[in-house]
Symmetry: C2
Subunit: 477 residues, 2 copies
């Protein structure tokens, strides 16, 4: 709630007091978690594991996992990290605005030094490779050895697929785009209507405005945010639908296990799979836009070619070689992630120095995507993650996209009427299926176990690549 | 922040989770405060008291006071109280809506039983009479022996003064009232403009909407709320100005002592004195309305007699024998408080049983104010305080009104240009004076010490009664 308020409500002058409040809660949390009593309780509970049912046993396993992470780092390292990352994040904002990597560099060198120290300490405590140990904070059980072949396959398959998609796209006329201005109140009204259709319950959530869209709150009070541009309603709307996917997951977590570790979302891969299933798989599809187009026309008084299902779908599925990850389409997105995945491992291993990052970035994005940033703002300064110390997070975006494709494929197989339902704006069947097969499971099983149970396969690239082929190189969906 | 959010932002479905969050923080707070380490630290600090400066010594005294209150009650009594009060508060909402005291009665009996238990435990721990011990939670050093003669004087003076005021009022024509509807956005705009004029800094605060107006947040991020009626802009506006007085106090607390007990507001008497100084003493005065009337006319496009300074002032100073405390004018308000002050002491002493409350209430309000409630909704069911377990709170409203009159009298003496400044909308001098003489002192001294230093007198009724005479029985202010 404090974070949500910070991003959505707080006046600027409250920043210092808020940072103090959050640091106090963090410190209390860490102190409680690492107190000897907790260790004793965990040991005692594990002695009695035989008496636990599956949920209880999973809960205990998750408690132990959280405890291992909390105790892996000495308190002074935790404190140092949060101070240095907060400072680097602040400087990053300036450096990005001024396109001045040199300004960030000394702070970023400190961040990388600490990441390496944290990685080593966590590796030691968890018995993992340092990069795996870092990924663990975001996605339990994520392992480089599992991800490498998947990402290699994507890096091999996507560039030629991208060529084909762009060639096909160029062969047709560009879709006309609806012309604004689109009043913000009307955009909000449409967003609320579609959120409700998808199953978002406003008795248990809100939609607000923040500079960067996010999902916050708790399962019984899920809060998503967006930002509006009067020139383009689709960007904000797709952002809202993306966050709605996150929100439906949170809301659907097992109510019986609220505030217990096993009741939490499994990890960032499944979380991102839910936002991308809703946004990319569902809402950018021709079926969904068949349902949504009349509502869009009604909301903004639109008419003519630009507002046809065909134009709206082709706009929603437009692909391009862009420089900015957050603006990327689903075809090129994995390439942005793979670049970061490689670079952050090189920095963690000490093979890439902070001062060499801009060059390595530009080389990498050229070789993967065929474009070169005109400046670092459109290059290695574009994301907050590294300055904020989040190494090992980026892969979860693309792993989430893969999981989304697998899950949506399985949902279509399980729900034969899904396409027809979607065209009529009926999503109850899909939501129930997600509740049963993903949301309601919380953290009882691993991501791979959850995926295998419902799709027959652990996390992989097949469904995702098949989806790209279908949507972008055949008659489309 | 959680409380503010609860009242202003939270969807209904979040209530249970929020209650859990707040209970968890409360329990942690209590546990930390009552841990043996704190007792040892306090003892050690008191050993070294000689080395402390005045602020540090006061801070230590306040720490000890907070500690004494926290340790006065056994944990199970605290837990029981919060459970029973929360339940009674919920039932009270129903009972008030249904005008059904019998519905509340069994819960209220439990509340009273616990208040008596709490009073006895606190009396024992603090070495005070039970009622004094209860008042201490809201106003440190409040003592029945000091308040009784002051309230007796008010109870003697006000009824005849009220007769004279009403007679004088009846002799003149009733003021015309501006006619609505008054659009809510326009009301908010006017409120913001006047808040800013008074010194409210929106970089460090917000104005929002809630069912019951209140001031929340922290000194660097003070949040006030109001509610709007399209029929009457004055009620909401005066509410906003009242909360602005609370907000200016919070914002002016000594920055050097943030998050330290000595940096907190002194107590509810000075807090209420600040809201009433701004609302009653300042903003309902002819001088203030001379400044505000043109802004009101401009905001709502008003014109004619109803919008004259004279009509607006006479409306703002209208007196009547009403039944509802929160709607009461400043002449009759003390009578509402004195009734509650007497009744809650009788309940605490065991001299008045819960079942006899409605009758005692109606007898009391008739004898003090000459009116009889048609039902308990307009009688003993009107306030949330007792069902919520807040015994000893009511007197602070009237003590605050007395302090406001004393302080404003002193401010006028210290600032010879005040009246002229106010007519021109210049409040910087007044705010600086309040910062120096009240806000910036935090809890360094007692309420009586603060008042004596600046007014030459401890808390008393002279200035207040003189103010009533001047405003309502002479040429007015």
């Amino acid at each position: 709630v404090l974070s949500w308020d910070n991003a959505v409500m707080m006046p600027n002058g409250g920043a210092e007091a808020r940072a103090e409040q959050m640091a106090t809660l963090s410190a209390l949390h860490h102190e409680l978690l690492t107190s000897p009593r907790i260790a004793d309780d965990l040991d005692a509970a594990e002695q009695g594991r035989a008496a636990l049912d599956a949920w209880q046993a999973a809960n205990l396993r998750e408690m132990r996992r959280i405890w291992r992470h909390a105790t892996a780092l000495p308190a002074d390292l935790v404190e140092q990290r949060s101070r240095i990352n907060a400072r680097a994040e602040m400087v990053w904002r300036e450096a990005r605005a001024a396109d001045d990597f040199a300004l960030l560099r000394p702070h970023f060198e400190e961040v990388v030094r600490l990441v390496r120290e944290v990685g080593a300490a966590k590796a030691e405590a968890l018995g993992l490779e340092p990069y795996d140990a870092l990924m663990e904070s975001f996605e339990p059980d994520a392992r480089k050895a599992r991800i490498d072949p998947v990402f290699t396959r994507l890096a091999e398959a996507i560039p030629s697929l991208l060529d084909a998609v762009l060639e096909r796209q160029a062969a047709a006329s560009a879709p006309q785009r609806p012309k604004g201005p689109f009043p913000i109140e009307a955009q909000r009204g449409l967003a609320v209507r579609l959120m409700e259709a998808l199953g978002f319950d406003f008795r248990h959530g809100r939609l607000d405005i923040s500079h960067h869209p996010f999902t916050g709150g708790v399962p019984d009070d899920v809060r998503i945010t967006t930002r509006y541009s009067e020139e383009d309603f689709a960007e904000s709307l797709m952002g809202v639908l993306h966050e709605t996917g996150h929100a439906l997951y949170e809301r659907g977590l097992p109510a019986k296990w609220r505030e217990q570790p096993v009741g939490d979302a499994r990890g960032m891969v499944l979380h991102e799979s839910q936002s991308l299933l809703i946004e990319m798989q569902l809402c950018r599809s021709r079926d969904f836009l068949t349902f949504a187009a009349p509502l869009m026309r009604e909301t903004f008084g639109g008419g003519g070619t630009a507002w046809s299902v065909d134009s709206l779908t082709r706009s929603a599925q437009r692909v391009s070689r862009g420089l900015i990850r957050v603006d990327a389409d689903e075809v090129t997105y994995p390439l942005h992630v793979i670049l970061r995945y490689r670079l952050e491992q090189a920095m963690l291993a000490g093979d890439l120095a902070a001062r060499d990052l801009p060059g390595a970035w530009n080389d990498g994005i050229r070789s993967l995507l065929g474009v070169v940033p005109p400046d670092d703002r459109a290059g290695c300064l574009q994301d907050i993650h590294w300055p904020a110390g989040a190494f090992g997070y980026f892969p979860t975006y693309t792993l989430g996209a893969l999981a989304a494709a697998q899950l949506f494929q399985a949902a279509k197989a399980a729900l034969p009427d899904l396409a027809a339902d979607v065209r009529q704006g009926s999503f109850a069947g899909l939501l129930a299926w997600l509740r049963d097969n993903v949301h309601g499971l919380g953290s009882r099983q691993s991501t791979d176990e959850i995926l295998t149970a419902v799709t027959g396969e652990p996390l992989g690239a097949d469904a995702f690549l098949a989806h790209l082929e279908t949507r972008y190189l055949s008659d489309g969906d």
